[in-house]
């Protein structure tokens, strides 16, 4: 029972119901809307699971038990946190700039969330398999810079502004190695469509094994920096002192920023899984298990997210100037060298692009 068949069965069922109700005219609207709603529901549940997972992972790394009181194994802890954040008082500074102040958290959340639209969970399970998939993701997730700058500016707080500037500088400088590490993939597969990249890996070995292990690590590092997570979380860490861009936010708005951060992690990990780890393809020697591709995708996704969490709890923080040094002087040259090397290899092996 592959993913494609499941989706086709459900779609046929819904079309039948709509046809019986005489509404078959609007099927072409209902389909994407239902897909988007299903995606939204699934991702929300997954984010709640991720918050719990982060706390449990960090706890077991530190030889302690994480949340275990609220629900079995503490699974309802995120629900409790969400309830707490929603009933908090929404403290707003008086002299804020109202429109950017209100839009910033929404934009941070929506921008990253919109990136989930092109991620293929299985052969047919994708909201819209755009043929500019990769480009779309990178473009959409860049909106977070605007969100952070608006948050910093509109808070009317000198320190929040500084934190916002630093965060924006960090994100913008790590966009470059992020894209550069994906360029060799695009060169090799010749397509930007994520489904096409996974199809290519079905025929050849996965990219992380065949040629692009370096690109994988560059991508993961740049993705951690994009999400403002440790070891690149200077804006958050020195928020004890100077204040990150989200100092003046409380309650649900604050929650939106953090949800945005987690969803950025999910989107980056999903792209890493799709592009480097073979998406929904089973592990080469475990193909006999006949698990649906969806299960493989989620397993790999959890693994990559575990890596990103392990980075946070193992490594110290980089200072701001060291962070920028690292991005510009280490990651970008290596990524460029990777592109050149891949180009040479393609020329040699295939005698031309």
């Amino acid at each position: 029972m592959t993913g494609e068949k499941i989706i086709q069965t459900i779609a046929a069922f819904i079309h039948q119901i709509l046809g019986a109700a005489g509404l078959s005219g609007i099927i072409f609207i209902i389909d994407p809307v239902l897909c988007a709603v299903a995606m939204f529901g699934f991702i929300s549940l997954f984010v709640m699971f991720l918050v719990w997972m982060e706390r449990k992972v960090s706890a077991h790394m530190q030889s302690r038990i994480g949340p275990n009181r609220v629900g079995i194994f503490g699974l309802l802890q995120t629900v409790a946190d969400a309830v707490k954040l929603t009933i908090k008082e929404d403290v707003k500074p008086i002299h804020r700039d109202v429109i950017p102040y209100t839009i910033a958290p929404i934009l941070a959340f929506v921008a990253t969330f919109a990136g989930m639209v092109v991620i293929p969970f299985d052969k047919g399970i994708v909201v819209q398999d755009l043929n500019i998939g990769l480009l779309y993701i990178i473009a959409i997730t860049s909106f977070t810079v605007i969100a952070i700058l608006s948050a910093g500016w509109s808070s009317n707080n000198k320190f929040a502004l500084l934190g916002g500037f630093r965060s924006a500088a960090q994100i913008v400088s790590y966009e470059v190695p992020l894209v550069l590490s994906l360029v060799p993939i695009i060169m090799t597969t010749g397509t930007l469509r994520l489904g096409g990249i996974v199809d290519y890996q079905a025929g050849h070995r996965w990219f992380i094994f065949s040629q692009q292990a370096i690109a994988f690590f560059i991508f993961i590092t740049a993705a951690t920096a994009e999400a403002n997570r440790a070891p690149f979380d200077i804006p958050e860490a020195e928020s004890e002192l100077i204040g990150g861009f989200h100092t003046e936010y409380s309650g649900v708005k604050f929650a939106m920023f953090f949800l945005g951060e987690y969803i950025a992690v999910i989107v980056s990990s999903a792209v890493a899984v799709t592009v480097f780890l073979g998406g929904w393809l089973p592990l080469p020697f475990l193909g006999f298990l006949h698990l649906p591709g969806f299960v493989w995708f989620m397993a790999k996704l959890v693994f990559v997210i575990y890596l990103i969490m392990a980075f946070r709890w193992t490594f110290p923080r980089l200072r701001v100037d060291q962070l920028m040094d690292f991005g510009w002087k280490v990651l970008i040259p290596i990524a460029i060298l990777n592109v050149l090397a891949t180009g040479f290899v393609i020329l040699l092996l295939e005698g031309g692009v």
Partner: protein, 173 residues
């Protein structure tokens, strides 16, 4: 040329050390062993010498407190937490009438227990959950501090109940 070689070597060495660091935390994560004692459900017993709560020993056989109001504990206490009074009864023996210990200023240093030569004060290691709602209830009198020694904890003759120091008054005047 040497600089370029050094640059790549630094990156590789740094990368390897990062992996080593990750291996340490991953090892702890995978072992799933925790050092947490989940407190109200799991109460580990405290060692016998724990300085938990000070109690006045009440001798069940003779139906009286062991305390003779010699005032050594009050003199030994660094914070003057102990206030007590005694009377000389008909047979010429001193007996304690009131004993008040202010636990809000007590630092549990143990000098009173050490100074007592009559086996009247002791630490009871099982009683360590002593939070109260009102600060006034920390000023405990002899009825609140009454404790009868269970038979299995009676001091053996070769091992006196109090600390073996050669100075009976380790705290002076």
């Amino acid at each position: 040329m040497g600089a370029i070689f050094q640059y790549f070597k630094n990156i590789l060495v740094g990368f390897w050390n990062l992996i080593l660091g990750l291996s340490v935390t991953t090892k702890y994560f995978l072992s799933m062993k925790t050092n947490t004692q989940q407190y109200p459900e799991e109460k580990l017993p405290l060692p016998a010498r724990s300085r938990s709560m000070i109690k006045l020993i009440y001798d069940g056989d003779k139906d009286q407190f062991n305390c003779v109001a010699c005032m050594m504990c009050a003199k030994a206490c660094p914070n003057s937490c102990i206030k007590l009074e005694g009377v000389r009864d008909a047979g010429g023996k001193r007996r304690m009438t009131t004993f008040k210990l202010d636990f809000s200023t007590c630092i549990f240093c143990g000098y009173c227990v050490e100074a007592c030569g009559f086996d009247a004060l002791t630490f009871v290691s099982e009683e360590y959950e002593n939070s109260v709602y009102k600060r006034g209830s920390l000023l405990q009198d002899e009825q609140a501090m009454k404790w009868v020694r269970p038979a299995h904890l009676a001091p053996k003759p070769e091992e006196p109940a109090k600390v073996e120091t050669s100075a009976p008054a380790a705290a002076g005047a």
